[in-house]
Symmetry: C2
Subunit: 236 residues, 2 copies
Amino acid sequence: MIKPPRPQSRRSEALSKARIVAAAIAVLDEAGEDALTFRVLTARLSTGFGALYHHVGSKDELLRAAAGQVIDEAAAHVAPEAAPDEAVRELALAVFDAIDAHPWAGAQLAREPWQAALLQLFRGIEERLASLGVPGGSRFAAASVLVHYILGVAGQYTAGARAQLAEGNRTAFLAKVTSDWARAQGQADQAAALGIAAQLTEHDDREQFQAGIDIILAGISALSLPPRTPTSRNGN
Amino acid sequence: MIKPPRPQSRRSEALSKARIVAAAIAVLDEAGEDALTFRVLTARLSTGFGALYHHVGSKDELLRAAAGQVIDEAAAHVAPEAAPDEAVRELALAVFDAIDAHPWAGAQLAREPWQAALLQLFRGIEERLASLGVPGGSRFAAASVLVHYILGVAGQYTAGARAQLAEGNRTAFLAKVTSDWARAQGQADQAAALGIAAQLTEHDDREQFQAGIDIILAGISALSLPPRTPTSRNGN
DNA sequence: ACCTGAACACCGTTCAAGT
DNA sequence: ACCTGAACACCGTTCAAGT
């Protein structure tokens, strides 16, 4: 009675949480957040609902796991030998780029920020701030601002991506927003609204994000680092 | 044929967008985001679906209008004679407090940050930064960081409030998060996770938020304001 | 233990019909 | 013009039944 070498099933591999999460990420990347339903997952993995629920518990848990994986990968790619303030910038940018590539993950993180992956980010930032000389008493607050900012941008970036998808393209989207603003403003304020819309049109999201990180790092340094010789401070 | 003085209808007032939005805000405040459905609204206003759709277009539009109203009210309460940096702090805190009172509004703003109400906030901040001496070239970036940060905190604050509601209370919620973290970490890192959880337990959200605003304002000042005599800089 | 898929309890939204 | 509510086209989730 020798066991047959695995009775080649219809599916190539057995179902597992990892395979379900991978399929979910694929659907999310290809077609966005609204497209992820248990029905398309059952079709894609050729199973039933019960099989999925046997491995994942709920749709929320699935979304959490998918976002966690994306962020984990991003945060792992930071060069360990970088100078501490550069490392903070790299960490922040890695998360930004991950969310650029997977906008749905930004929405998820903004919604449930206590995921383990973000704990890693927080700890990574706090560690670098310590190397930078930020004293223990203000380190928590300093790391918090950075993480809050990163998540704030993440959420809004995602929102923009989703809306641009719905509206066709960035230009069309901004045109619609601008006209909505103009309608909501008094006549006198329409010029200001147009000015802001123009700056939104021109600016580069990634550069803007980096400029924000620089401002916050400068603030942390100003408030909680021993003052240095005030030369060569050209931050722009 | 004199018209009767308004044939006292079953409902006290005619249906209108304003009344629908008011009812929506009431439901959201009383029972949270998930509780707002067109079905409970029809019951509360004793009408049918079609009547609601005749005034609001979609649930998204309703949510937008509700959040917009809450933020508009908050931003309007800032004393106009305040010093510019104090005014920025007041604006930020007003939004924070509004979201504390209406957590669902935070989620909505994080999801669709281009609402007209936020344009007002942005302009209010930019104006004050101009008074503060921040040059035009960096003012947009500076105001952006502040707004991104405010919205980031808003989103996460809301997430926390929602989770605490689900979990029973803040302590129970933090206990659950901590145990999730501990499970996800290696043994060696559990201490660090516990330390962060402890700081989360102790800190006051509102104070933390203010500390963040101070850090960002210090960074703006360091990077784009003419240097002052470096005395009496005690920001903590 | 793992999987299947009909069925349940909801949603937001539409629309023919009323006044 | 404004309102009504049955009906439609979806969801996430459960669960008795299979292997």
